[in-house]
């Protein structure tokens, strides 16, 4: 640095160093992650596509062309399952966002005890999903469970009610559990976003006489909208693929009442050893989610522009 005679040299060296190696350096940093995902996710995905054109089972596999897809698409059952999956996703994500937004707002309120309340919403998120499901399984038990027992004591029910034994009640019970698992994380992300909103905005509005509800509607919501929208997409994908909750509570039953696409895929491939037919269903999930995500990202782009986020 003290060498005055060659001031141009370091700059030139820097430029060439940068120009030559930035791209390579970047790829060297990314390569390990990319290779790892390539082996553990991308390759199995390619294999899944290949298997979907075969009749693979425990015995072996033969090329069968589009037969698996034809079989899958020819029955009414498949479309019923797709419809149910979307209903499951929309209802559960909607509830997670609404409950999460209300929860975040409550936890953001400046009342004593706030720090404690924020801690108390963590548990469903940080424990293994399977363990939370065991808790709900017991709550839903008709003979000995809390919900059925309490409802009888309070006179809401005449006798024991098995929540997971009927198509509709099993479906909505699984939704409640899914919302329970997903809400804490949504709440904390919304809470974090709310705390990131510039307080000057609220104060300016307050000085102008704006009420709480007005400030919430006109400042909080627009300010955290980008987070809401991206959380909605992530949550939608996870909920669409929600496996453990349904599988532990109902295994997709009763009589298929809680069978979503992911459960159907698992049962076909693992339960009935029809690897080829299962793979076709897996491909269907990927295609549907891919199209859904692309459409959604288009919307997200527009929302971000609308709210002036770069």
């Amino acid at each position: 640095m003290a060498d005055v005679t060659s001031t141009a040299a370091p700059a030139a060296a820097k430029a060439s160093r940068k120009g030559l190696s930035e791209g390579w350096f970047a790829w060297a940093l990314i390569a390990p992650a990319l290779v790892f995902i390539g082996v553990i996710v991308a390759w199995p995905l390619v294999e899944t596509v290949r298997l979907s054109f075969t009749d693979a089972d425990l015995g072996g596999e033969n090329w069968v062309g589009l037969a698996n897809y034809e079989k899958m698409l020819s029955g009414a059952k498949f479309f019923e399952i797709v419809g149910r999956t979307f209903f499951w996703m929309v209802l559960s994500v909607g509830l997670k966002l609404i409950v999460g937004l209300i929860g975040a707002t409550l936890l953001n309120a400046a009342v004593p005890g706030r720090a404690l309340f924020r801690m108390m919403i963590m548990p469903p998120w940080v424990i293994p999903i399977a363990i939370g499901c065991i808790g709900w399984l017991w709550l839903y038990n008709g003979q000995f469970g809390f919900l059925s027992g309490m409802s009888q004591r309070l006179g809401l029910l005449d006798g024991p009610f098995e929540f997971l034994a009927y198509k509709n009640s099993a479906f909505y019970s699984a939704i409640v559990t899914d919302v329970w698992v997903g809400t804490p994380m949504v709440s904390l992300f919304f809470l974090a976003a709310m705390q990131g909103v510039n307080r000057d905005l609220y104060e300016a509005a307050w000085v102008d006489g704006a009420g709480r509800w007005y400030r919430f509607r006109r400042i909080t919501i627009p300010q955290i909208m980008p987070v809401i929208v991206s959380m909605a997409l992530l949550s939608a994908i996870w909920t669409f693929n929600s496996f453990e909750i349904i599988y532990i509570l109902t295994q997709g039953g009763p009589r298929g009442g809680t069978t979503t696409m992911i459960i159907d895929t698992y049962k076909t491939a693992i339960g009935n050893y029809k690897f080829g037919e299962g793979a076709a269903r897996a491909v269907a999930i990927v295609v549907i989610l891919g199209v859904f995500s692309l459409l959604y990202l288009k919307v997200l782009d527009r929302v971000n522009k609308h709210y002036g986020v770069k």
């Binding site: 190696s21 930035e22 970047a26 790829w27 940093l29 990314i30 390990p32 990319l34 790892f36 995902i37 553990i40 996710v41 199995p44 995905l45 899944t48 409950v99 209300i102 409550l106 936890l107 400046a110 009342v111 309340f117 924020r118 108390m120 963590m122 548990p123 469903p124 998120w125 940080v126 424990i127 999903i129 399977a130 363990i131 065991i134 808790g135 017991w138 709550l139 003979q143 809390f146 027992g149 309490m150 009888q152 004591r153 809400t183 904390l188 974090a192 976003a193 990131g196 987070v227 994908i237 693929n241 496996f243 453990e244 992911i262 895929t265 693992i270 690897f275 897996a282 995500s293 986020v309």
Partner: protein, 281 residues
């Protein structure tokens, strides 16, 4: 501040709503705890009784006898989640840095590929994944549960950490770089120390993900009882005749307690960190 002051009625409303919200969140835990204290005869008594005078902590000592490997399962869960977190971070840190700081060909496209991994879950790819694990000779080892866990957490990790790294002032790096430091040295000695709060938040999120989703890979890729994580190990309380519900609940609560306590206290940093990081844009 004056703006934040509530009337008494508003306060009551807020507390009532919080109570309702927390009831929903904590109900399963309360019920699990109540069940863990109940003798089996109480659980199966009719009509339904909430509280009995014969409640005790008996199940908390019986469970270790009924399932001798319980301590091992609890440890396995923590071990697997820790390994997944450490390995994921090793992959995530360099990649996140590249996306935050460097310009290179196919940047947007490769990031898109990473993020699209979010669309798959283990359950969709189970059969080929099983074959990959078999080819790599990883079935029935800890790695069978660690490796897929890492793969599915890398994308979220990159996405979260990139947000933090973008917020670190570029000038510090450029200064080190002009002084002749290599890129790798700059990353290690300048960027990472500054990113510590972000690393903690991202690491915590990954740990939660790794701890929460241990069931499917464990029951599919591992048959060795000694290696099972807690969620899979709890199945042992399900007998041929009866399910030892009280002991199962006692074991579940005891098993998650260490991790839960840590996270309850990390919550504050997590929320603060999420504010500073990826959530902004």
């Amino acid at each position: 501040m004056l703006m934040d002051r509530y009337t008494l009625l508003q306060k009551i409303g807020i507390y009532a709503a919080i109570a309702l919200f927390l009831t929903f969140i904590l109900l399963p835990f309360a019920e699990m705890f109540r069940t863990s204290l109940s003798p089996m005869s109480h659980l199966f008594s009719q009509p339904y009784k909430i509280w009995g005078d014969n409640f005790s902590f008996q199940a908390y000592s019986d469970m270790w006898v009924k399932v001798p490997l319980l301590g091992r399962y609890i440890w396995n869960s923590i071990y697997i989640a820790t390994m997944v977190t450490v390995i994921t971070m090793v992959f995530v840190i360099p990649a996140a840095y590249a996306y935050a700081r460097l310009d290179f060909p196919f940047k947007a496209m490769s990031l898109g590929i990473f993020l699209s991994v979010n669309m798959f879950t283990g359950a969709v790819l189970l059969i080929p994944l099983y074959r990959v694990m078999r080819t790599l000779n990883l079935l029935n080892t800890y790695w069978a549960m660690i490796v897929p866990g890492v793969a599915f957490l890398i994308p979220t990790g990159i996405w979260l950490l990139r947000g933090y790294l973008e917020k670190i002032p570029k000038e510090l790096e450029e200064a080190a770089y002009v002084d002749g430091a290599s890129r790798l040295y700059t990353l290690r000695r300048v960027v990472l120390p500054l990113a510590t709060p972000g690393l903690i938040v991202v690491g915590t999120s990954i740990y939660i993900g790794a701890y929460a989703q241990q069931y499917l890979f464990a029951v599919t890729f591992n048959q060795v009882a000694e290696l099972q994580p807690l969620p899979a190990g709890l199945n042992q309380f399900i007998g041929y005749q009866t399910v030892e519900w009280n002991q199962m609940m006692a074991a579940a609560l005891t098993g998650v307690l260490p991790v839960m306590v840590v996270f309850l206290f990390l919550q504050k940093y997590l929320v603060a960190g999420l504010t500073a990081g990826a959530v902004k844009e």
